[in-house]
C-alpha cells in the first residue's frame, strides 16, 4: 500500500499534515504524537520580528466550530531557528515553515531568510493578513496583489512554495490560478472564514478583536466545495483543510481534488487526531482495495 504523495519536489510519506497555528512548533504535541509518523509538520506562522498578538478573549466556541483572533502572535523567525527548529530536526518528517509579512518586501525577506536554513523543507505563505501599503486590505483577497506578493516570494526562494488561500473571496478558483501563475508549487486551502459573535446581554463582541477566523467541522462543506472548484482550475497540488476531524473527512477532501490534507482545530479536540487519520486512511484503502492513495485524488464521480 502506498501512502506517499508529492507536493512539488517535496515527498511526503503520507498525505496527513498539521495546519499552521494548531500544532505550535511540533513540541507541544510530541508527547501525544510520534512526529515521525506525519506527512509533514507545518509550524505556527512566523514573521521577521516577534508579534505580540491580540488581547484576550482570543477564542470562543461556536456551534461545531470556534472563532479565533490570535493576531498572529509568534516568536519571530530568528528565535524559531535558534530555539524551536533543533527539536524538529530530530524527526524524519519535513518541516514546512508558515510565514507572513506586512509588506511585499517583508514577505520576500522572510522567505529568503527561511530558505537559507537547513532542515526547513518547504514554505507556506499566509496571504490572509493585511497589506500595510494598501490600506491594510488583505493580500489574498485581491488577485493583483496576490500575484505580486507570490511572484516576489517565488523569486526569493528555491524551496517548495505553498500559498495558503483565503476563503474570504468570491472566486476561489481564480485565486488558486493566480497563485499558480505567480509560481506557487501548491496551494493550501482553506484558511479560516471571517466571522463574528456577539454577547446579547452585554451587547459586546465576544472576541476582543471583534471578528475572528471560523474553523472546525462547521466550515467543512465550504472547504470541500472550494477544493473542488480550485482542482478544476489548477494543475498544482492542493492541500485540503477546513474542519477535518477524521479519516472520512480527509478522504472527502482528496476525492474533491486534494493531494494532501491537514488537521487543524481537530488537534485541540483530539491530540492524536493526525495519527488516527493516517490509520483511518489505511483502513479505508484496505477495505476498498486501493493500493495507492493517489488514486483518491480528484476521483469524485459526477
Amino acid at each position: 500500500m502506498n501512502l506517499s504523495v508529492n507536493i512539488g519536489k517535496l515527498k511526503l510519506k503520507n498525505p496527513v499534515m498539521t495546519a499552521s497555528g494548531t500544532f505550535g512548533y511540533g513540541e507541544e504535541y510530541s508527547e501525544f504524537v510520534d512526529l515521525n509518523r506525519l506527512g509533514a509538520v507545518v509550524v505556527k506562522g512566523l514573521s521577521l520580528t516577534p508579534r505580540e498578538g491580540n488581547p484576550p478573549p482570543r477564542i470562543i466556541e461556536t456551534p461545531a466550530g470556534m472563532l479565533n483572533a490570535i493576531g498572529l502572535q509568534n516568536i519571530g523567525i530568528e528565535v524559531f531557528i535558534k530555539d524551536k527548529l533543533p527539536f524538529l530536526r530530530q524527526f524524519h518528517t519535513p518541516v514546512i515553515a508558515n510565514f507572513f509579512g506586512d509588506t511585499v518586501e517583508e514577505y520576500s525577506e522572510a522567505a529568503k531568510r527561511l530558505s537559507d536554513i537547513e532542515d526547513i523543507h518547504g514554505l507556506e505563505m499566509n496571504i490572509s493578513c493585511p497589506n500595510k501599503h494598501a490600506g491594510w486590505i488583505i493580500f489574498g483577497t485581491d488577485p493583483k496583489v496576490t500575484f505580486e506578493v507570490v511572484s516576489a516570494v517565488r523569486r526569493a526562494t528555491h524551496l517548495p512554495l505553498i500559498v495558503k488561500l483565503s476563503p474570504n473571496v468570491t472566486d476561489i478558483a481564480l485565486m488558486a490560478k493566480v497563485a499558480e501563475d505567480a509560481g506557487a508549487d501548491a496551494v493550501s486551502m482553506i484558511n479560516t472564514i471571517t466571522g463574528m459573535s456577539i454577547d446579547i446581554k452585554t451587547r459586546r463582541p465576544r472576541l476582543a478583536n471583534m471578528t475572528g477566523g471560523l474553523s472546525g467541522p462547521t466550515i467543512k462543506p465550504i472547504a470541500v466545495r472550494m477544493v473542488y472548484e480550485a482542482y478544476r482550475a489548477v494543475k498544482i497540488p492542493i492541500i485540503g483543510m477546513g474542519g477535518i476531524m477524521k479519516a472520512e473527512d480527509a478522504i472527502e477532501f482528496m476525492l474533491a481534488g486534494a493531494t494532501a490534507v491537514a488537521a487543524g482545530t481537530a488537534n485541540f479536540v483530539n491530540p492524536t487526531v493526525t495519527i488516527d487519520i493516517i490509520h483511518g486512511i489505511e483502513s479505508f484503502m484496505k477495505e476498498n482495495s486501493i493500493v495507492d492513495v493517489k488514486e483518491l485524488i480528484g476521483a469524485l464521480r459526477c
Partner: protein
C-alpha cells in the same frame, strides 16, 4: 504515562443546586495531579460542543480525581447530565501548580465562588497550616464548609448579601486580617504567602493588597481555552513580560507578574 486518556465517570452528584462533583477513574495509569493543575474534560456530543472544557483538579481520591464544577453554561449543563459508568476523554493534568510556601511563611488561601475548586486541594496539602478566606454570593454558594473547617487553622467567610459570615468582599476580610493581625498570628508569622483563585475583580483586589503590604503570592487565572497544551495561544493573559499562556506558563502566576 500519557496525559491523554479515557476515564470512567464514577460519580456526578450535586453538592448544591448549581454545583456538582464529577469523580473520574482513569482507565489506564495516569499522572498524579498537583494542587492548581487542571484537566481538559471532553463532554461528548460528536462536534457540538466541540472543545474540551478546562477544570481545576478539586481532589484526588482512591479512584482517581474529582472536579468540582458550577453549572453555568451550555457545556456544564451537558456535563450535569453525564451518567455514572460513561467513559469520557480527558487531557491532563495540565499547567503548573501552586508553589509551596517558604519555611515559616503562613499560607493565606483566598477563594471566591467556584475558585474554591482550585485551592481546596492546596488546603488539604497544607493540612492545618493555612488561613482560609472564602467568599461567595450567598450562603447557599458556600461549598464544602465542614471539610474546610477541618483543613484550615482558621476559616474566614464573607458573602455579598451577608447571609453568612461578613457582608462584603473576601478581599476586604483579607485586608482587615493583614491590617490588624491577631497577636497569635503575629507571633507565628515569618511572612505570609497568598494563594488566590476566584473572579477577576477579586483577584485584582487581592493582588493590590498583596503588593501594598509587600507580600508575595500567587493567583490562579482562567481564560477561554482550546487546546490546553500551549499550541493555540488562545488563553493568554497580559503579564509584565508580555502575553503568557494560562495553560502552559500558568494557570498559577506570581501576583506581581500580572497586568490587570
Amino acid at each position: 504515562m500519557s496525559r491523554y486518556f479515557r476515564a470512567e465517570i464514577k460519580e456526578n452528584r450535586p453538592v448544591d443546586k448549581s454545583y456538582n462533583i464529577l469523580g473520574l477513574k482513569p482507565l489506564k495509569p495516569s499522572r498524579e495531579p498537583e494542587p492548581g493543575q487542571f484537566y481538559m474534560i471532553g463532554i461528548g456530543g460528536e462536534y457540538d460542543p466541540l472543545l474540551k472544557r478546562p477544570f481545576s483538579v478539586f481532589r484526588k481520591n482512591s479512584d482517581g480525581f474529582q472536579i468540582l464544577y458550577r453549572i453555568k453554561g451550555r457545556g456544564t449543563l451537558l456535563m450535569r447530565d453525564m451518567k455514572e459508568g460513561v467513559v469520557i476523554d480527558v487531557l491532563g493534568p495540565l499547567g503548573n501548580s501552586y508553589p509551596l510556601p517558604d519555611k515559616g511563611q503562613i499560607p493565606l488561601i483566598v477563594a471566591g465562588g467556584i475558585g474554591i475548586a482550585s485551592v481546596f486541594s492546596l488546603a488539604e496539602k497544607l493540612s492545618g497550616e493555612s488561613y482560609m478566606f472564602y467568599g461567595a454570593r450567598n450562603r447557599d454558594e458556600l461549598l464544602m464548609l465542614n471539610e474546610l473547617k477541618g483543613l484550615a487553622e482558621e476559616l474566614f467567610i464573607s458573602t455579598d448579601d451577608g447571609s453568612s459570615g461578613r457582608k462584603g468582599t473576601i478581599a476586604d476580610v483579607l485586608n482587615d486580617f493583614l491590617t490588624h493581625p491577631s497577636p497569635v498570628t503575629q507571633a507565628k508569622a515569618c511572612g505570609y504567602s497568598i494563594y488566590a483563585c476566584g473572579p477577576k475583580p477579586m483577584l485584582e483586589a487581592v493582588s493590590r493588597i498583596a503588593i501594598d503590604k509587600g507580600l508575595n503570592g500567587y493567583v490562579s487565572l482562567e481564560e477561554n481555552m482550546a487546546c490546553g497544551v500551549g499550541a493555540c495561544l488562545g488563553c493568554v493573559v497580559k503579564t509584565r513580560e508580555g502575553y503568557k499562556r494560562v495553560c502552559k506558563e500558568g494557570p498559577v502566576f506570581p501576583i506581581e507578574e500580572i497586568v490587570w
